[in-house]
Symmetry: C2
């Protein structure tokens, strides 16, 4: 193996320092939160030292801001893709919302709790205000629900309550996972299975609750 081959291979396998930092920052911040995370932990996780962290990202706040914004966006990314669609029926939208949010949570188990908690502890803070404005979920879904009620397709329900219900059923299990697991003696595998079932179960549950 020549020298250049070694380098090419290394580049394919190993991430750049910046990417390594972002990976470990994601991991540490989402697990421990802003106040619980330690720059030293992030550096250790990335296999570098603290000075290099500050070389790439001036401060903890700056690094956090990047991770938090990325996380907030990711949390609702799949939703915004189709929520305004004119082609999908309300029931189809509900099915997709549930499936997408559960899939997102399964792929990123700490993400929902992280975003929710930082908003909680810092709701007035500038970061949350900025990010909050960007991700206001469309009023078109609310209108879609209201239309369905008006047309007698579903029973009367406050559209906002229905939206809250869909989000609650999809995401709460992941947010409260540790309590549920202790509470009900559920292993990791059992939990994953339950959540996989929920992709269909929750949509059915919601549709049964609202159809005439």
């Amino acid at each position: 193996m020549t020298h250049t081959e070694e380098i090419t291979l290394a580049k394919e396998i190993e991430l750049s320092t910046e990417e390594k930092i972002l990976h470990s920052a994601r991991k540490v911040f989402t697990k421990k939160g802003l106040s619980g995370a330690r720059m030293q932990d992030i550096a250790d996780e990335a296999g570098i030292n603290k000075a290099l962290l500050h070389y790439y990202f001036r401060s903890k706040e700056k690094l956090f801001e990047k991770i938090f914004e990325e996380a907030s966006t990711k949390m609702f990314a799949k939703l915004t893709e189709f929520i305004d669609s004119k082609e999908l029926s309300l029931f189809e939208k509900i099915e997709k919302m549930v499936e997408n949010q559960i899939a997102m949570s399964m792929e990123n188990p700490f993400l929902p709790a992280f975003v929710i908690n930082e908003f909680h502890q810092n709701a007035e803070g500038s970061i949350c205000q900025t990010i909050g404005r960007k991700m206001s979920v469309s009023h078109k879904l609310i209108e879609h629900i209201q239309e369905a009620v008006n047309q007698g397709l579903i029973r009367p329900i406050n559209p906002i309550q229905l939206f809250i219900n869909i989000m609650s059923l999809s995401m709460f299990p992941f947010v409260s996972k540790p309590i549920l697991q202790i509470n009900m003696n559920v292993t990791e595998e059992q939990f994953a299975l339950l959540m996989e079932q929920r992709k269909k179960d929750v949509a059915d549950f919601v549709i049964r609750a609202i159809k005439l």
Copy 2:
């Protein structure tokens, strides 16, 4: 006003130092979490200095443990009262569970997010393990649901999923309140009104979803 009258009056109005500390510790810990809370903030909030805090409660950990255990218990206290009852029907239990958990969350707005988040960040830790064991929700409810399915009173559903649904619908809105508010432009009063409505709405929603 005599000297003794002054003292009697003061005792009625003012809390003991220990109670003042617990009050402010509750406030600061539930808002900021273990890692975000500062002993100085707790002292300031109680109108005392840090040394006195350490006089009453040896360390931050000790004080936190007390507050956290109290909070975890409070979070499910009302539930455990009636959940095993033989007199109540399943639907009555569902109505009470929803109403109690929403009422509890309205009275203690930061409590659910606090408990959930600390479990998340510390699920392996000794505190969570100890507290977790104490609050395992009864299997009798699960059995009650299973019986209702077997007797054909409700449509087939995994009892664990139904339990998760009830908890999700009752508590998620409070956990995700800051995001919901920014997302849907909802004031404090509007939010309180929505949650008041949910006490009935959620029970209806669940019952409609499961009844034949």
